[in-house]
């Protein structure tokens, strides 16, 4: 018998624990010729804001050892175009569609959530709190426990869907933010978003990226992400989704063993559009080899108090 990969992430029911990370899978359709998105546990789409955003000046991408920096600048089509142009196709999928949202003010977060209310095929919202807060001189919402909690509350008030809060690793102690967001009522957490970094061109003596800094992703950040997941799982009761440098089934297994109930694959989609499907196949294979009837038996087994 095939091992059972079904998993419950708070109120969210997934057919398997493998999701695509926001910003790396477009609006889903871009990959549909190359792999069947319906095999995924879920699709998390590019971060949506109230108004369309053109994004940062190029160059926006630079490769780094075992990773990449991106400074896309949260470019997206905006709420209205998302609903009219992107959502209809997503609604035909037979998997969980999760919409990642962000804003530059508390009100913007709330308005995007309100605009997606009632759409039955949206399984959950994921809040990106790593966005610069206009009211606080551009400091990220996600670096302040109080602000993170207020964003969470603002969104919860405007939505009928489970809310996942996606945490930034660019903080002193991620557990403090995690607890604040849990107390505010979040249904789940996902972590980590990208780590801020930089590359300088020694010929021009200027940062390579048009935005000067960018977010580091890919296998280079995996040990950091895994450690943070391991820490956060110990400090909150709500479920945690692991993100960061996951490319192989073995990578995903480490996060599940650390206590993540699901994983998101980001940069891995660029390396191979079928990375997520290879991971799903690998999870099945692992369970079968070890005689494990359900993937749920693996979760958290690397925690000391297990």
């Amino acid at each position: 018998m095939s091992p059972d990969l079904h998993i419950q992430v708070g109120p969210l029911h997934l057919k398997n624990p493998v999701l695509t990370a926001s910003g790396t899978f477009g609006y889903g359709r871009e990959f549909a010729q190359l792999m069947d998105p319906n095999r995924l546990g879920g699709v998390i789409v590019k971060g949506i804001s109230l108004k369309p955003r053109p994004g940062n000046p190029p160059p926006r991408i630079v490769e780094t050892p075992c990773g990449m920096l991106n400074a896309i600048g949260l470019a997206n089509v905006g709420l209205d175009a998302f609903v009219s142009e992107k959502l209809p196709w997503l609604q035909t999928l037979h998997t969980a569609v999760i919409v990642n949202i962000y804003g530059h003010t508390l009100e913007e977060y709330a308005q995007v959530a309100a605009g997606l209310k009632g759409v039955q095929e949206i399984a959950a919202l994921e809040i990106n709190v790593s966005c610069p807060n206009v009211a606080r001189g551009g400091m990220s919402f996600g670096t302040d426990p109080n602000l993170s909690a207020r964003v969470t509350e603002a969104v919860l008030k405007q939505t009928d869907k489970p809310v996942i809060v996606k945490l930034s690793p660019n903080v002193t102690d991620i557990r403090v933010i995690a607890k604040a967001v849990e107390a505010a009522g979040a249904h789940a957490l996902s972590l980590i978003n990208t780590l801020t970094g930089m590359v300088i061109d020694i010929e021009t003596r200027r940062p390579v990226l048009g935005n000067e800094t960018g977010g580091l992703s890919g296998p280079a950040i995996r040990p950091v992400a895994l450690y943070m997941v391991h820490q956060v799982v110990q400090s909150v009761r709500i479920p945690v989704i692991g993100v960061g440098g996951i490319i192989t089934p073995e990578d995903a297994l480490q996060f599940l063993m650390a206590g993540a109930r699901a994983v998101e694959v980001g940069t891995g989609n660029f390396v191979d559009p079928r990375t997520t499907l290879n991971i799903i196949n690998g999870l099945t294979r692992f369970c079968r080899q070890k005689g494990i009837p359900t993937i749920r038996e693996i979760i958290g087994t690397a925690q000391q108090n297990w």
Binding site: G26, P58, V271
Partner: protein, 266 residues
């Protein structure tokens, strides 16, 4: 669009640091249109991580896909070391190609360095005896026309150090006609470094001659998903940026903001 493992059938050095690689990829070859590109995964390891974009330089009847590349860094160095029988994961064909010329004999192709790759595929496909201007830094970078299947074309060469052909830039070849595109050409196709493309854009825009350019940009996905390959759209467009992988890599000159275009790809 297809992703498949393609066997290297040959990988020949054709000029200094320059190789022509044949990949057995009948499905991609069958769908390829000049100007389109592929993303090649150079290794199975996590480093170097991202796929590398390359123009399709031609296809062979046996399903071979031709890639002409210059060794500039880690990825292309790995490619240069691949012998027949080894292989790479290839994703393509990607992006939008060139529109074919309406009238034979009316098109002028301008190639700087590796810019000859997509343009030679275009020249082969049109089957027309097109005029090609090529520019290289020096003679030993010049790619023999025979190996690109361009024997039916009229080719002029310029080298920056004057070691072969005209001493100067490829765009200087236009200066013989008084620094404008000579009469009789209704369509220009160009691919090469940004400064060269800027010069060509300037001429064609001023003279009102249709011109399509193929651009480069760093890329992560090649699929229009990551928004990493942005180039500035002309002022007055309905968008601020186009994405090279999806809206290009071939653009009409008038659609781009040449003032903002970055001359330097890291």
């Amino acid at each position: 669009m297809i992703e498949q493992h393609a066997e290297v059938t040959f990988n020949d050095r054709v000029a200094a640091d320059t190789y022509l690689m044949g990949l057995k990829s009948p499905d991609i070859a069958a769908r390829a249109h000049p100007g389109q590109f592929v993303m090649i995964r150079v290794g199975a390891q996590a480093d170097p991580l991202l796929r590398r974009p390359f123009s399709i330089c031609g296809v062979r009847k046996d399903g071979g896909l031709l890639i002409l590349y210059r060794v500039v860094g880690r990825g292309t160095r790995i490619m240069a070391g691949a012998g027949p029988g080894t292989g790479f994961d290839v994703l393509g064909p990607l992006g939008n190609g060139f529109d074919f010329p309406a009238q034979p004999g009316e098109s002028l192709l301008v190639a700087g360095g590796m810019g000859i790759a997509p343009l030679s595929f275009l020249a082969q496909r049109t089957g027309q005896e097109v005029q090609i201007l090529t520019g290289y830094a020096c003679a030993d970078q010049q790619i023999p026309f025979e190996c690109l299947g361009l024997s039916h074309c009229a080719v002029l060469v310029a080298t920056e150090d004057g070691t072969i052909g005209h001493h100067g830039r490829v765009t200087d070849l236009l200066q013989e006609s008084g620094n404008h595109i000579p009469h009789g050409y209704a369509q220009v196709y160009a691919c090469g470094p940004i400064p060269m493309l800027m010069a060509v854009a300037d001429l064609t825009l001023r003279q009102g001659i249709a011109c399509q350019v193929s651009l480069e940009s760093t890329m992560a996905c090649g699929l229009g998903a990551c928004q990493g390959c942005a180039v500035p759209a002309a002022p007055g467009s309905d968008r601020r940026y186009y994405h090279v992988c999806q809206d290009g890599p071939v653009f009409e000159v008038g659609t781009l903001d040449w003032e903002q275009l970055q001359p330097h790809v890291p």
